[in-house]
């Protein structure tokens, strides 16, 4: 007979909880070492989706971990740890990866040159981190490039006006503007209007499709409408950081797909969105996790909270409990590469989370599935988590689980790792993570002061940090529209993002989206298709006539007014607007493209047998300089230029 896990815990108590023994059948062989014999090394290891920097211990060139017991320091090589770990277990995978990466690192650590030629700084003056690793305040110039970095990382890009204002007012004022929430009356009515049926009532094409939302039906909303309204606010909100922060929470922390919700619980999709934006506005991460612990869509439906029942004979459903720790709070391993919690801890926390149910209810004649807390479904009694560690706690329910978890130092470290990787650069070591984690803790897990520090840090603007993060498809799309002001029809965004496999509210897994996959070969061609299909293939004449928007007005008029007339001037202008740094050879290639038209007219008969010929037609910002009519050919060239630029690998980086 298989005993329930929590019953086993009652039998065993907490005595057997030592990090590496969790998945092991016997203890790994360790040796007592002198602290002087241990060298520390940092290794960057990728396990699953995330790459993380781990601090490991090296003993005579051998990688492993150390543990202090009864004033003695024990060293256990990763090789010995592998021997006792369960085949196929996550711990074994991690330890193997650490051993592989740790070998060279430990050899380097052991064979480091003598400190004599370059004596280290005195203990009172620790070495200053390089700029890309420094959270000290940035004191360099703040021009267009820096403003673009700030907005690309923290706001899906920026409009030209936003960038100009940033340059004019400087970094501190811009950061304060990003961190301050501005009420947006237009979006306040547009978003619910789009959410309920996918149409804006002001849209001439809406016609009978637009209808008034039924206030008496909690499920009167469309999934397409919810996705579309989200994209709409990403593009047009005057609170760009709020939007980007919300996307970060939806992607990098706990992710959930709207598909998990049945039609009778569409209201839960909206509640989830509201919870995320509430967190983004307040910055209160602890409250966010408290809300997720009760979230109908994420916890109760997608991660099975509603079927996680207590009771003597029931096995808890551990789905949410595992993700609560792995993705939402402490992460599976610490900076030393060792597990933070055990499977027993997860089973215990799952019991603390029991008690929820989802039932069909009739509300104003509509079938609505609602969540409720049922005391008899909750597993009573005390549960022990983080057993055998300094953070061991006795808990009974979700609130106590939350409090106990937030006492663990890994919560701040895990958040710090994600913030470094998502917003700063992928180079953070253990020291950098600890520095940011300290700031997170001192802010009481309110992330707004943390982001203020991050946005003004040397690390953000350091040369090495530039172009070190891959843009998401949503970064590319929203950034395009913001930069150009292109009047993209709001109902197209969902279609475009679906083509790019980043349909909002529908990440592929609980881990969110994988930017490496999304920027891989297979999907890059889709981005090229989007550029052509949705932006190039829109009539220049229609853009002007129907929306009052033109490439000339956006990119040329002011250049011409300032006397800049050549193709090179335009290339520099457009590349600068998109924040793309061109190689000289690329610039020359684009100049040629702007100055020479390819023509297949009358070919190959009159083209020396070739299928086309190149016709010289120097680009000039003066509309009257183009005999064939500037409105057509000049603007056509710029359209082509933008497409060519945004197809470049450089355009994908931020």
């Amino acid at each position: 007979m298989k005993l329930p896990t929590h019953f086993l815990i009652l039998l065993l108590g907490t005595a057997l909880i030592a990090p590496l023994s969790l998945a092991a059948t016997r203890a790994a062989k360790s040796i007592v070492v002198s602290p002087d014999d241990i060298k520390k090394a940092s290794v960057n290891v990728k396990i699953g989706k995330k790459a993380k920097l781990y601090e490991i211990s090296c003993y005579r060139g051998t990688p492993g971990s150390t543990q202090r017991k009864s004033s003695k320091l024990y060293f256990t090589s990763y090789k010995n740890q592998e021997k006792v770990l369960v085949k196929g277990s996550a711990q074994l995978i991690k330890v193997k990866a650490l051993r592989k990466a740790g070998g060279p690192a430990c050899r380097d650590a052991s064979g480091a040159p003598s400190p004599q030629p370059n004596p280290p700084p005195s203990p009172t003056e620790p070495p200053k981190p390089e700029d890309h690793a420094s959270l000290e305040k940035y004191d360099g110039p703040f021009g267009l490039a820096e403003a673009q970095i700030l907005y690309n990382r923290f706001g899906f890009g920026a409009t030209p006006a936003q960038l100009q204002l940033a340059v004019n007012t400087g970094m501190d004022a811009t950061v304060e503007r990003l961190l301050s929430f501005i009420p947006e009356p237009d979006l306040a009515w547009q978003l619910p209007d789009i959410s309920c049926d996918g149409w804006l009532y002001t849209d001439p094409a809406a016609g009978v499709n637009n209808r008034n939302c039924n206030q008496n039906n909690p499920n009167d909303m469309s999934r397409f409408g919810l996705r579309t309204s989200l994209a709409h606010q990403f593009i047009y909100s005057q609170n760009p950081f709020l939007q980007r922060f919300a996307f970060f929470l939806m992607d990098e922390r706990l992710s959930v797909s709207h598909l998990a919700a049945r039609d009778c619980e569409r209201h839960a999709i909206k509640s989830y969105i509201d919870n995320v934006f509430k967190a983004a506005i307040t910055g209160d991460y602890k409250q966010y996790m408290r809300d997720m612990n009760k979230d109908h869509l994420l916890h109760l439906r997608s991660l099975d909270g509603a079927t996680n029942r207590g009771g003597v004979s029931a096995n808890p459903n551990e789905n949410y409990a595992r993700e609560f720790w792995e993705l939402g709070t402490v992460g599976p391993t610490g900076l030393n590469g060792l597990p933070v919690y055990s499977d027993i801890d997860i089973a215990q926390s799952a019991l603390a989370l029991t008690g929820w149910n989802i039932t069909d209810t009739n509300i104003n004649g509509n079938n609505v599935c609602v969540a409720s807390w049922v005391p008899s479904f909750h597993s009573g009694g005390t549960k022990i988590i983080f057993g055998g560690t300094p953070y061991q706690s006795a808990i009974t329910n979700d609130e106590e689980l939350l409090e106990a978890t937030f006492r663990h130092p890994r919560v701040a470290e895990d958040l710090a790792e994600d913030i470094w990787n998502e917003f700063l650069n992928p180079f953070a070591g253990a020291n950098e993570v600890q520095s940011l984690a300290n700031i997170i803790r001192s802010s009481g897990y309110n992330l707004l002061p943390v982001f203020r520090r991050v946005m003004t840090s040397k690390a953000l603007y350091a040369q090495r940090s530039r172009n070190s993060i891959i843009k998401h498809p949503v970064d590319m799309l929203v950034g395009y529209v913001k930069t150009t002001g292109f009047p993209l029809y709001y109902r197209r965004t969902d279609e475009i993002l679906s083509r790019l496999e980043q349909q909002l509210l529908n990440p592929p897994t609980v881990f969110g989206w994988n930017t490496k996959y999304l920027s891989g070969e297979q999907l890059q061609v889709e981005w090229w298709n989007v550029l052509v299909g949705y932006f190039m293939n829109v009539s220049i004449v229609d853009l002007k006539d129907d929306y009052g928007w033109s490439y000339y007005d956006r990119f040329i008029a002011d250049l011409h007014a300032s006397g800049k007339r050549t193709a090179g001037d335009v290339i520099d202008r457009v590349a600068s607007d998109f924040g793309i740094k061109l190689e000289p050879a690329q610039r020359a290639e684009l100049e040629q493209m702007m100055n020479y038209y390819l023509s297949s007219w009358d070919c190959p008969a009159n083209c020396n047998g070739m299928p086309y010929r190149m016709e010289r037609n120097l680009f000039d910002t003066d509309p009257s300089a183009d005999e064939s009519g500037y409105e057509w050919n000049g603007q056509r060239r710029i359209r082509l230029l933008i497409t060519a630029l945004l197809e470049l690998p450089q355009a994908r980086m931020k």
Binding site: S257, L259, A260, R262, P426, F427, R464, N467, S468, I469, I470, R499, E501, N506, P507, P508, K516, Y517, S519, G520, E521, Q522, Q524, V525, E526, W528, N529, V532, G533, M536, N537, K581, E583, A585, Q586, E589, L590, M593, Y597, L598, S599, S600, Y612, R636, L640, T643, A644, E647, L648, P649, Q650, R652, M653
Partner: protein, 413 residues
């Protein structure tokens, strides 16, 4: 045809070592009939062409001849006198003349009442996603089985969709390429101006090659992906105008089958093993007789050219064509059309296919009790799993989920 994989397994399991081999080879799903793919000579060039009659094709794709069916479809059904008979019970639609010689050669298999299993739906969207993704439950986003199959294939062109991106081909580690034209690797054409399109292609080649050296791993990934994409575009373009021994009809579908023929003719240079083609217009709620005939005429022309081309190239034995459709349709309605039904007919053809009616035609009782037929003889996953394993030589457990664990053989390959 020599001993195939199934025969081989039957032989070895008949001996004393059979059980041990099963225990060794069978994946955890208990899919005992299938084992790890074996490297049998000749499978390298084989291609599985999946054709989707999108919209829900009528059972009159493969008309049933008995009286109850005819009575329930008084104005739209066919008998042996005006269709192409396979046997005395069932035939194929009269438009499908390309299948006449295939039936004679014994290389057309028809499976009746094939559906999506317990999760089948009569909604276009939901049923299509079921067929594309083969979900094991009613919720949750997953990758398509076409993407899962393609992920097993090492080649950049292992899987190809000639009919756009959809839930079948999304996801996985190496999803099928979505190719709208061989000259562009699925690039959307620039409207009104082919000259701009050509110039952009030329400029892009140089610009990508001139992009700066990467300064970090993320940049290197993006740069390498772009360069690889560019080189694959150029590789594919070499086959865009490949001469074929057969002229294909000048229709949309003719062009897709012509591209499919070129992809297959390219052989190991592209390594194509899975091609997806779709034709819409089968949602025949009214005037089915004319609309179905019109659609199938176009399909037949393209298919006929494709079959002749494969035979001329000596590749007919390397190809299996199977169809899907999100559901079949009801009995005739008052508009001389049909509405949404459930499990329907499935055809499998190719040089190595074992022809015949593989699952029995709907009985009078099954037809008589409902406006649509609720009975099912099996799931598409069972059929496709057999093709994936027997024909392509890949482990179907990596492509289809555990719903097919108890799969019977249909003996199609």
């Amino acid at each position: 045809m020599g001993t195939n994989r199934r025969d081989f397994l039957k032989l070895i399991t008949a001996g004393t070592c059979g059980a041990a081999i099963h225990n060794t080879l069978s994946p955890a799903t208990g899919f005992l009939a299938y084992a790890d793919p074996l490297n049998i000579a000749g499978v390298a060039d084989r291609v599985f062409v999946l054709f989707n009659f999108s919209g829900g094709v009528s059972y009159n794709l493969c008309p049933v001849y008995h009286g109850t069916y005819r009575d329930r479809n008084r104005n739209i059904s066919y008998g042996p006198e005006n269709s192409i008979p396979i046997n005395g019970e069932q035939g194929v639609h009269p438009s499908l003349t390309a299948l006449q010689p295939i039936i004679s050669e014994g290389r057309l298999a028809v499976l009746n009442l094939i559906g999506a299993g317990p999760y089948h739906s009569r909604s276009h969207d939901e049923a299509t996603i079921q067929w594309h993704v083969q979900k094991s439950s009613s919720t949750g986003a997953q990758e398509g089985w076409g993407a899962r199959l393609s992920s097993q294939l090492q080649s950049a062109f292992g899987g190809v969709s000639l009919s756009g991106s959809n839930s079948l081909v999304r996801g996985g580690t190496n999803p099928p390429r979505v190719i709208s034209s061989l000259s562009s690797l699925g690039e959307t054409p620039i409207l009104w101006d082919n000259d701009d399109a050509l110039q952009l292609q030329m400029v892009r080649t140089n610009l990508v090659a001139q992009s700066p050296a990467a300064q970090n791993a993320a940049e290197e990934h993006v740069r390498a992906s772009t360069l690889k994409l560019q080189s694959n575009i150029e590789l594919l373009r070499q086959y865009a105008n490949m001469a074929l021994p057969v002229v294909f009809p000048n229709t949309g579908l003719g062009g897709k089958f012509r591209d499919a023929a070129r992809l297959i003719a390219a052989g190991p240079a592209l390594g194509v093993k899975f091609i997806y083609i779709e034709q819409g217009g089968y949602d025949t709620h009214s005037d089915e007789r004319n609309r179905l005939t019109q659609n199938l005429n176009e399909f037949n022309g393209a298919l006929n050219a494709f079959i002749l081309c494969m035979k001329s190239l000596g590749r007919w034995n390397d190809v299996v064509i199977a169809n899907m459709s999100e559901f079949t349709r009801t009995m005739e309605n008052s508009s001389f059309g049909t509405d949404h039904g459930l499990a329907g007919p499935q055809m499998v053809l190719g040089g190595l296919v074992k022809g015949g009616i593989k699952t029995s035609v709907p009985t009078a009782q099954e037809i008589g009790t409902n406006e649509f037929i609720r009975a099912s003889r099996g799931t598409f996953a069972q059929v496709f799993a057999e093709i994936v394993y027997e024909f392509l030589g890949f482990d179907p457990n990596l492509v289809f989920n555990g719903d097919i664990a108890a799969s019977p053989y249909f003996d199609v390959i």
